[in-house]
Symmetry: C2
Subunit: 326 residues, 2 copies
């Protein structure tokens, strides 16, 4: 297949490599021409995927329109805040667009495929989501993920496109649920990181994350997703690994907040976006609009945007009167 | 309240300390009189709870009948394999017995409260379960847990007994579900540890644990538990922390299996029981009897009891034809 990957961060590059080694013709586009030049020169993406050699055959194309021309599939792996402007170039594209970006648009409350419905109305839409650290995928460590599309045949086509012996792709039709699971868990990962940074234990974090999955599910169902989806790879699976793994960017972001670092300081040191930060705001907006109680998301929002001290946020969370969980 | 705790391992000791500092009159019994002597002499349980000073007021009683006499509540914290013989002493006890032991009896397929129905027929029965490393509880790190009893009033009484500012107790009525969640997750923790020991990544482990929760739920529902319970603290919460935390004994047991250590060698070095080991056998038996497919449990059983190489077990698991998860 002719596949174009938009975005040469860790995830875009890892997937471009996977698709190329799977026998596809891959074009990789990046926002920054100098970043692409470095990839061309070194055959590596040392900043985002240290130690991984990229396939020689991959085409690196700095011009977005040229990159898209002739593609059968376009995989979008840009940060959520650039998603709308980048995918405007897909206005006339009639192949399949696969979003691998996890986020919720500020103000509109749209997931990435929701944005695609507006920016790429001729195209088929699917999302790929699940517990999948890019560096592990680039090292061919066994990974399982979900390809979701409202159209099952399209989900199956995407499954076939990505499937490899070490990259097992399941299919699903609850596109919204899969996207919301992937997006909302990043907010919870920040909460889990705050818990770590404040010096709480694994008991505390496990209790927080258990409640969080229930919160994600309630918000998702109110938005039109299916409850069951949140217990799959893109919900529970991704949530668990993001909250407990050392490798998680969003958890690490929260850990620094918990330790007392300021957001500008943390941001200055990040090589890649912590999507949980913008998502905390849009998820909190979405919950208010849908009239769903989301105490964890709200406390994270208050910590990140309203200057609430993280220790107070955690205290207010644990002090809430709580219903039996089981 | 007058409370007797049977078993002075990490969990029994941590709960005895919690109950005593909560203003109860606590008697702690241990199988080994010399172990109890050491606690009396040092006011510590250094072997199981390093660094924790125990309350002076706690009564330490080496005679089981004397320990039980006059108690309103008996908390049983002995290994599952000693549960039946220990609780035979409760034949005439008419207070409330709270099991904090996680296991399934070999051959009978009974949970600990199932055993209690036979050994302590006059007593009320409840279980306390959830993500709760003993050492963190002993350090007053915030923890949330479920007190379950078929009788809601009894669950509430147990909630009240244990509740502390840093130990939040929820109530539930699905006693069987809470017990099975706590027991089955230890088998999965061994699988997760094997995954670590073989050098797989967090992606692999997250996929495994996501499938495992669904397996636990199917087995639990077939046994008569409620599906929802497995998404609570005693299912998902405990599963997650046991599979991802460095502190987990069962995960550590599996990690050594994955690295190629033999079971006798591992056993020789353990100070405390890895309950997942006996539970793998009884869970596998139970699944066969109930005619439920439990591929993960079966592979762990084959690895631990039938000499199957852990790498082959993991390969056979990932090679299984799989249905869409979402």
């Amino acid at each position: 297949m002719k596949v174009t990957v938009l975005g040469a961060g860790a995830w875009g590059t890892a997937l471009a490599r996977l698709l190329q080694t799977g026998g596809n013709h891959v074009t990789l586009w990046a926002h920054s021409p100098s970043h692409l030049d470095e990839l061309r020169r070194t055959h590596r993406n040392e900043r985002f995927l240290p130690g991984i050699v990229l396939p020689w055959e991959m085409r690196l194309e700095p011009d977005l329109s040229s990159a898209i021309a002739g593609a059968e599939y376009v995989v979008v792996a840009v940060p959520s805040k650039s998603f709308r402007e980048t995918t405007r170039f897909l206005a006339d594209f009639s192949g399949v667009v696969v979003s691998v970006t996890k986020g919720i648009e500020h103000r509109t409350g749209l997931t990435m495929c929701g944005i695609l419905a507006e920016t790429a109305p001729q195209a088929g839409r699917a999302a790929l989501s699940g517990p999948s650290f890019a560096l592990e995928v680039a090292r061919d460590i066994p990974t399982a993920i979900v390809a979701a599309s409202a159209d099952l045949a399209m989900a199956r086509a995407v499954q076939k496109l990505f499937h490899r012996p070490s990259f097992r792709v399941y299919t699903g039709q609850d596109l919204l649920g899969v996207e919301l699971g992937g997006a909302l868990k990043n907010v919870i990962a920040i909460a889990a990181g705050i818990c770590d940074g404040l010096g709480f234990g694994d008991n505390t974090k496990a209790a927080l994350v258990t409640r969080a999955l229930s919160e994600m599910r309630h918000l998702g169902v109110a938005a039109g997703a299916q409850a069951e989806t949140f217990f799959g790879l893109s919900g529970l699976g991704d949530l668990m690994v993001t909250c407990f793994s050392r490798l998680s960017r969003n958890r690490g972001f929260g850990e620094r907040i918990g330790r007392g670092d300021t957001i500008p300081d943390i941001m200055a040191g990040l090589t890649a976006v912590a999507e949980g930060y913008p998502t905390a705001r849009s998820a909190s907006e979405l919950a208010r609009r849908l009239n769903v109680e989301t105490p964890i998301t709200d406390e994270i929002h208050a910590t990140l945007y309203l200057g609430k001290h993280p220790a107070l946020a955690l205290r207010d969370l644990t002090a809430r009167d709580s219903k039996p969980e089981n």
